[in-house]
């Protein structure tokens, strides 16, 4: 129904219809494309980005998928994801630590080759790279945790004694041996994957995971009392009384110790 005073021309009607149709088509196609873009962000845990790679979200806005980092990688560590074969955003560079780990070149040629800054040119020391964090994921199969002296992951680590240390503890199984537990220190681990490819087991017990999976985080307001105390050179609260620690023994509920009390739920009439 035409409004008074505004004669509607067929051209205008046609223009509006065509525009509406094109806009509608764009919304449909754009939504599909946006779905693809969301999918593309889901990087599989075993796919590691090259050193200096921006966080995944920024990386996908910066990487033009040219492959120059792959070309300049002297160890053929990096590869470009192939469509439908690798579950990584197609054409983006990645490596799999268990196949070819990063050799951590001093001159970081992959970062130098990147034309867009998807690999951060601010990374000038490869030891500061954070491709992931090694995690000893399977203590039950790790030979060192079984009490043997394998230690290959520790020996091959480019940051030996910093990124991986051997922490000794008593071996309760034999009763008179030590366990040399390979222990990753995330601050020093670059995620190069040398430990993962070197693990002698058929499936590695130590794996490099993306930082988001490998690490928890401490709450902002947490303070470690002992560190604060050291920094302060003494207790932070004056006049604090240090009460004696409760030790197992008579008068406590520690049943392993002769004379301890039985817990209330074991007492007759406690509803058990």
């Amino acid at each position: 129904m035409p409004l008074a005073g505004t004669p509607l021309s067929p051209q205008r009607r046609r223009f509006l219809q065509d525009s509406a149709r094109a806009a509608g088509g764009c919304v449909v196609a754009g939504s599909l494309l946006a779905f693809l873009a969301r999918d593309a962000r889901a990087l599989p845990a075993e796919a590691l980005r090259p050193p200096g790679a921006l966080p995944e979200k920024e990386f996908l806005s910066a990487c033009i998928r040219c492959g120059l980092c792959v070309r300049d990688c002297p160890y053929d560590t990096l590869k470009l994801a192939e469509l439908g074969v690798d579950a990584v955003a197609t054409g983006t560079p990645y490596f799999t630590a268990r196949e070819v780990p990063c050799e951590m070149c001093d001159d970081i040629p992959c970062v130098a080759a990147c034309p867009t800054g998807a690999l951060d040119p601010g990374l000038d020391n490869i030891d500061d790279a954070k491709m992931g964090v090694a995690v000893l994921v399977d203590q039950e199969n790790c030979l060192n945790f079984l009490g043997l002296r394998c230690e290959v992951c520790y020996r091959v680590c480019p940051a030996i004694d910093e990124a991986i240390t051997l922490e000794t503890s008593h071996n309760p199984r034999s009763g008179h041996h030590a366990i040399f537990a390979p222990t990753v220190h995330a601050d020093h681990c670059t995620g190069c994957g040398m430990c993962e490819i070197s693990c002698v087991l058929p499936e590695a017990a130590i794996k490099v995971l993306p930082v988001r999976l490998a690490r928890g985080s401490s709450a902002d307001h947490y303070r470690k009392g002992w560190e604060e105390k050291d920094a302060n050179g003494g207790p932070l609260v004056d006049g604090l009384i240090d009460l004696p620690d409760r030790l197992p023994g008579p008068g406590t509920d520690n049943l392993a110790t002769p004379g301890g009390f039985a817990p209330s739920y074991n007492l007759p009439g406690a509803g058990q």
Partner: protein, 305 residues
């Protein structure tokens, strides 16, 4: 339309100019497409590193960076301002195509062009209907959509499906299932939509068309007075809506094909038996005097069907 419109496309030009003469620019184009592909492939195949990278971004002889400006634009709207190397590479590409015609990329470099050309050749041989023909402006809408999605998702959106860089990267770094995508485009152009991908959908072509709006190198229908209406140029031109204003323009109008949709492929020059078209620069709007027309040959009987 003359009786010659019923003859097979390009038949006359072959008779007059010989097969080579009637396929000069087609042969040059295929050579150019092969040349640029081989440049990229010599590294991985023969170990001769003249060009590293792909069409998305490359480094020639270790000094000359080239970057696809459309990818850089998507990257910028996605919130990532590229480093200087990529920007310089993008500017060089912009300047070059701005000068010789944006869509020269489409017909002389793009690896998808032989695929869609083959589909179109077969389409013509099988005499199939032209099928779904969305407006030519559709690719501009697609381009705008790609930019909007890039900015909303923060991902270089078109690179998720761009068959150009996928095929190119596939040949250089490993195919995966890219062949299926290429087959899909071939089938789309063959049976769904004639000239569908390059002519209506591809936002990369739309972008290159925009940057070549004012380019110097142009095709001119300078000798339009000699046109005998055989329609062969319309049959071979992938963007044949651009021919009429130049070829059929009234006296006094420019014979220059000024549409940014023109890919400067030169097939119209090849296929014209009376040499109406020629490559020239955009300021050369010289029209051959109608007083000296090439005499139109006698109409021939229609080809028996």
């Amino acid at each position: 339309m003359s009786a010659r419109a019923h003859m097979p496309v390009g038949h006359e030009a072959i008779e007059v100019k010989g097969w080579i003469g009637a396929h000069k620019f087609l042969l040059l184009r295929r050579t150019s497409q092969l040349f640029f592909l081989v440049l990229f492939l010599m590294g991985p195949w023969l170990g001769v590193w003249i060009v590293q990278g792909t069409l998305a971004g490359s480094l020639t002889l270790g000094v000359l960076p080239l970057t696809d400006p459309f990818i850089l634009l998507q990257s910028s709207v996605a919130g990532q301002w590229p480093e200087l190397t990529a920007l310089i590479g993008g500017l060089i590409v912009l300047a070059a195509y701005g000068l010789i015609g944006g869509r020269v990329f489409c017909s002389w470099v793009c690896p998808i062009n032989p695929v869609t050309d083959a589909a179109n050749w077969l389409h013509r041989r099988l005499n199939l209907p032209k099928g779904w023909q969305p407006k030519r402006s559709t690719r501009l809408w697609v381009m705008a959509t790609v930019l909007v999605v890039s900015s909303l998702t923060g991902v270089i959106a078109w690179e998720l499906i761009n068959p150009i860089t996928m095929l190119h990267r596939g040949l250089i770094f490993g195919m995966g299932f890219v062949w299926a995508m290429i087959a899909a485009i071939f089938i789309f152009d063959l049976v769904v939509s004639r000239h569908g991908w390059c002519g209506h959908i591809c936002p990369v072509g739309a972008f290159y068309g925009l940057i070549g709006r004012k380019s110097l190198l142009r095709v001119s229908a300078a000798n339009r007075a000699a046109c005998d209406d055989c329609m062969d140029c319309y049959a071979v031109c992938p963007e044949n809506q651009i021919i009429s204003p130049a070829l059929k323009g009234k006296p006094g109008t420019t014979p220059m094909i000024l549409s940014p949709d023109c890919t400067n492929c030169g097939r119209c020059i090849d296929v014209c038996a009376v040499d109406v078209f020629k490559f020239t620069h955009r300021f050369d709007d010289h029209v051959a005097a109608p007083s000296d027309p090439v005499p139109a040959p006698e109409p021939r009987a229609a080809r028996p069907i």
